[in-house]
C-alpha cells in the first residue's frame, strides 16, 4: 500500500535529534528499529509528517551491566543483543524468556526493547518482565532528563506518559534482590511469529518459605500491561503452598480484563491468565533458590 510522504532525518547526536523533534513538532515520530512504525505506515494506520531515526546516534545502543549497579539498556540496543547477553541471562532470566519468544530472527535483528516499550502494545513482550523488575525509564528532552517508573509509563494501547519532545534514551533495571526469582511466559498457538493472546511476568522474593514480596504483570488482557495488585496482595507475606498458587491463578484471572477479538475469546484468555500466573510463580520460586 501507499507509504505516505514524510520527511526522514538521521541525526548524528542526541541533541540534534531532540532539536529536530521539537522543531518538527506534532506529527514527528521517532524510529528505532522500525519494526512497528514502518508496518503501521505501510498499512496506513500512521501517517507521520516526519520520521527521526535514532540508529546513527552514537552511544545510545549500549547494554551495560555491573553487579553493583544493575542493567542499562540503551534506546537502540537490538533485541537480538539482549537475547545473547550472558549477564542478562544470569541476572534477569525473565527478560531473556521474553525476547526469546518475540517475533522472528529478522525482527529481533532490527527491533529494540525500548521501541517495544514506546510502542505500548498491551501484548508487548518485554513490558511484563521489565515492570516486575522495577525498571525505570529515562526520558530526555531539550529541557533535560526525567526518570519514571516503567510501572507508570503505560496509559493505554499505544499511549504512554511520554511528552511530545521526549525521547526514551534508556531503560534502567535494578539488580534483583537476594532470594528473588523472575519468570515470563506467554501463550502461543503457533511457534515462531505470533502475537500472544495472553502473557504473564512475575518477580517474587522469598524469606524462608514465605513470599515476602511479589510483582505480577499480565500482558494482552487489558489496555495496558496490567499490574495484578490484588493477586500480589493475596500472595504477599503468605506461606508458599500449592493452594496459594492455585488461588493466585484464580485471582489473577478475575483481575484481568481481556476482550474477545480475532485472536481469542475473553473467557479463554482469563483461563490462560490463571495458568500462566501459576506457571510463572512456580518458575520464579525455583529460580529464587539460585539467588
Amino acid at each position: 500500500m501507499r507509504l505516505p510522504k514524510f520527511e526522514y532525518f538521521t541525526p548524528k547526536t542526541l541533541n540534534e535529534a531532540l532539536a529536530l523533534l521539537k522543531e518538527q513538532g506534532e506529527g514527528a515520530y521517532i524510529m528505532a528499529g522500525g519494526t512497528d512504525i514502518v508496518v503501521k505506515m505501510l498499512h496506513g494506520r500512521l501517517r507521520p509528517k516526519s520520521v527521526i531515526a535514532l540508529q546513527e546516534i552514537d552511544g545510545i545502543n549500549k547494554i551495560s551491566f555491573s553487579p553493583q549497579e544493575g542493567l542499562t539498556i540503551g534506546a537502540t540496543a537490538r533485541i537480538v543483543n539482549i537475547l545473547s547477553h550472558p549477564d542478562i541471562l544470569q541476572y534477569y532470566p525473565a527478560l531473556t524468556d521474553a525476547v526469546k519468544v518475540m517475533a522472528n530472527i529478522e525482527v529481533r535483528n532490527m527491533g529494540t526493547v525500548v521501541g517495544n516499550l514506546c510502542n505500548a502494545a498491551p501484548s508487548a513482550d518485554t513490558a511484563p518482565p521489565l515492570i516486575t523488575m522495577g525498571s525505570v525509564v529515562v526520558l530526555t528532552s531539550l529541557e533535560g532528563e526525567r526518570r519514571l517508573s516503567l510501572d507508570e509509563f503505560f496509559k493505554g494501547p499505544g499511549i504512554t506518559a511520554m511528552n511530545q519532545g521526549e525521547i526514551m534514551t534508556s531503560v534502567f533495571v535494578p539488580l534483583p534482590q537476594p532470594r528473588s526469582g523472575g519468570s515470563y511466559k506467554r501463550i502461543s498457538a503457533r511457534c515462531g511469529v505470533d502475537i500472544a493472546p495472553a502473557s504473564a511476568g512475575t518477580m517474587a522474593v522469598f524469606r524462608d518459605e514465605i513470599c515476602s514480596d511479589v510483582k505480577l504483570v499480565l500482558g494482552a488482557v487489558a489496555p495496558i500491561p496490567l499490574r495484578a495488585y490484588r493477586t500480589e496482595n493475596l500472595l504477599r507475606g503468605k506461606q508458599w503452598t500449592h493452594e496459594l498458587i492455585q488461588d493466585a491463578g484464580y485471582e489473577a484471572a478475575e483481575e484481568s480484563m481481556p476482550i474477545s477479538d480475532c485472536r481469542a475469546s475473553a473467557e479463554w484468555r482469563k483461563k490462560m491468565v490463571a495458568v500462566l500466573t501459576r506457571r510463572t510463580l512456580v518458575e520464579a520460586y525455583e529460580r529464587s533458590k539460585k539467588n
Binding site: R2, L3, R190, G192, D194, E243, D261, W268
Partner: protein, 779 residues
Amino acid sequence: MKEFSIIGKDVPRTDAIVKARGAAAYTDDMKLPGMLHGRILRSPLPHALIKNIDTSKAASLPGVKCVVTAEDTPKIKYGNWRLFPETQDEYPLAIDKVRFIGDEVAAVAAIDKDIAEEALELIDVEYEELPAVFDVDIAMKSEAPVLHDYCPTNISVNRKIKYGDVEKGFAESDYVREDTFTVHGVSHAYLEPCSALAQVDLDGRITIWTSTQVPYIVQCLLASTLGMRENDIRVIKPFVGGGFGGKMELRTWEFCAALMAKRTGRPVKFTLSREEEFLAGRRRHPMKLHSKIGFKKDGTIVAKDLKIQLDGGAYNAMGPTATFLCGNFGAMLYRYPNYRFHGQHIYTNKPPASAMRGFGAPQSLYATEIQMNIAAEDLGIDPIDIRLKNAQVSGDKIPDVATISSCGFVESIQRVAEMSGWKEKRNSLKLGQGIGIGCYSFISGGVFNWFNTQYPFSAAEVRVFSDGTAHLLTMAADIGQGSDTVLKQILAEELGLTMEDIRMTSADTAMTPQGDLGSWGSRVTLMAGNAVVNAAKKIKEELFGAVSAHHNLNVIHEIECKNGRVQAKTRPDYGLSFGEAVALVQKANRGEPLVARGSYTPRGKGLVTPAFGFGAQVAEVEVDKETGLVKVKEMWTAHDCGTVINPRSVEGQLAGSIQMGLGYALSEQFVMDGGKTLNANFADYKMPTAMDMPLSHVTHVDTYENEGPMGAKECGEGLASPTAPAISDAVYHATGYRCKDLPITPEKILEHVEKTEDVGLESRKTLHCDLEPEPYKIG
C-alpha cells in the same frame, strides 16, 4: 520394481538453484517499458445493488490512465464449467449488484501503484444495501435473501449418487450411527499473491504473463470474456509461487490487465496484496456433512448415506467440481456395497470458496475417518483393524466410477502401524498424549471434461537434434510442485539422455502444444507424463528404424535408447550415438527436423479418474490439558503413489501437506463477522511455520500403475487429507475430546476437559495437574 536410470533417482529440481538464489522471476518481478499498475476497487458491503458509479474524479487524477467498470466490458459471463453454461455465474466486474465484501467493482491503471491506490478512493459508488446471508442453513430457507436471480433457492448445484440399496443395507446392519460434522474454510496462502501482466501486440493480440495453474483455461476464458478468438490470446506462465487450487480460474485482474492494455496500448500489471488475498481470495469450502453408516458386528461396512452442504460463497467458482467430487470421495477408500450421496452447493454472501488441495477430499474424508474411529470404538475393534477389514483393494469396482487398478492401501495401513509402533502406543500412552490415524484415497487426474475442450487433456512435443539434445514442449504448468523436473526425467529416461541434454519450454499457450487442462486434481505427472512418453515413443520408432537399417540388424533385435546411445539391447556395439541416429533420420527425410507430438486423454477408465493414490498416516500429539494447546510431535506416513519418479519431490509434497494439514486441523481459520474477514494478515491468520513442523517419517509402498507413466500415480493432493483426521484422532486419544467441528481449538479442548472433569473457573476446585507442570513442588 522396474529398473530405471533416472526415474526414482535423487535428481535435483531444475528450478532449485535459481529459486534458492532468489533469481527466479515471478510475474510481479517483470517490468515492461511504459507499464501501468492496476488496482481493483472492491465492494465494502456483503450484498448490495449498485445504483451508480462515478469514476470521473478518479479518471482525472494526474497519472491515472484508465478506469473501467462493468460498463466498459462486453459483459460476458465466465466459469470453468463451459459444458454447463448455467453454472457460469461470474462477470469480471460486478454488474448492478455486489455479493460479498471484496467483490470486484472497478479497476484503475496508473503510472504507479500509489496513484492507482489513491484513485480507488476517488471512485464514488452508490450502493443500496440488501439483506445478506452468511449461513447455509439460513440461505436454503424460502425467505432467505437471493444472491442470483437465476437461482431463487440459493442451491446452485445438486448432485446425487446412488447404488445398491441403502435402506436395506441399514436394516441388515448390526450397528448404525449418524453424525454431523462441520469443517471450516482455510486459505491457500500461496506465498506468491496473484499477479498478471498483459501487453498488446502490434496487431492487437494479447500476451499475458500470469500466476496461474491453468494457462489453457485462462487463454480460452479470457478470449471469450473479451469477445476475442482463442488464438488472439497468448498466456505465459512464469515461475509461480504455489497455487493449491486458488489459481485455477480466469480472474478479474487477468481480465482487467488485458482489457486495460487494449484500451491504453500500454502494458498493465496487477498484483494483489496479501490483505486482498485474505479478504476476498478463494478458499477451501466450509461444509456441513451428515453421514449415516451401517456396520456388521465384525466391522464390515454395509451401507453409507452421505449428505453434504457446501458453503460456496457468492459464486460457483470451482464449487460444482467440489460438490461432484465430494460424492466420489465419500465412496472411495473403503468398500461401500450400498451408497447414497446428496451434495448441495449453496450461495452465501461470503468470498467464493473454490478448489483447494484435495478438492473436497479433506472435508469428506475428515467425516469418513472420524466416523470410522467412533464406530471402531463402539464395536470394540482397533482403528487399524477396522480399516484393514474394509480397505479397497486392487480390482475393486466403484460403481459408475472405475475399477481400481493398482492399490497399496492395505500395505500402507500395515506399514504405518508398524512404523509408528501403533499397537503399543495406542495402549500405553499417558493421559495427555495420544496417537491417531487418518487415511486417504485420491484421484490421479480427472476424466470429466466440464471444460469441454476439444483437445487432448495433455500434450507434449519432442524435438531431437543431431547434437544429442532434445527439446521438450508442454503446456503443463509447473507451479512449484516440480512438474518440469519430473517431465524432463520421464523424457530423459525414455530417450536414454541426461537431464542436461534436455531443453524445456512449458506453459506458453502460443508455443507449447494444445492442450493441457492445468495443474490440479493431481493430474500432471500421470497425464502430461503419459503425453511425454507417447511423443518419445514416436521419436524412438524413427531412431530405431534408422539404427536397424544402418547396422543392417536382424529383425529379431530389440533396440533401446540408453546412455546417450541408440543400440541393440543384446548387442550394444551395434548402435549409434543419439545425435548420429537423429542425423540419419533427418538425412532420410530431406533434412526435416525430427519432431513428434504425443498426447494423453483417459479412455475406458470410467468417468472419474484413470488411477487412484492411497495412503495412511499416524500422528502423535501431546496436549497441554491446562491450556488446551496441541503439540504434534511426530508423524508417520506410508503411501502408494505408484512409481516414485522423484523421491525428494514426493517428500516435499508430503512435508507441504503436513504443514497444511496442521493448519487445517489446529490453527488456521477465517475469523469473520457479518461477511467481513477480521484476520486478513499472517500475524492473525495462523498458518504454521517451519518451527511448528513435527518429525516426519515416510515409506513409499511399492506399486506399479499400468495406466501411469513408468508406473506413477499421484501424491500432490491425496496427502492433503489424512493429517487433520490423524491429529484429531490423536487428540481424542489424548483427551477424550472428539472433534466434529473443525478446527480443533484450545478453547474447545478445554471446554471438554472441564466438562468431563467438572472443573470451572468459578467452582475453584483444584485442577488436575497430571501434565505439565508437575504438581507444584514446595520447598
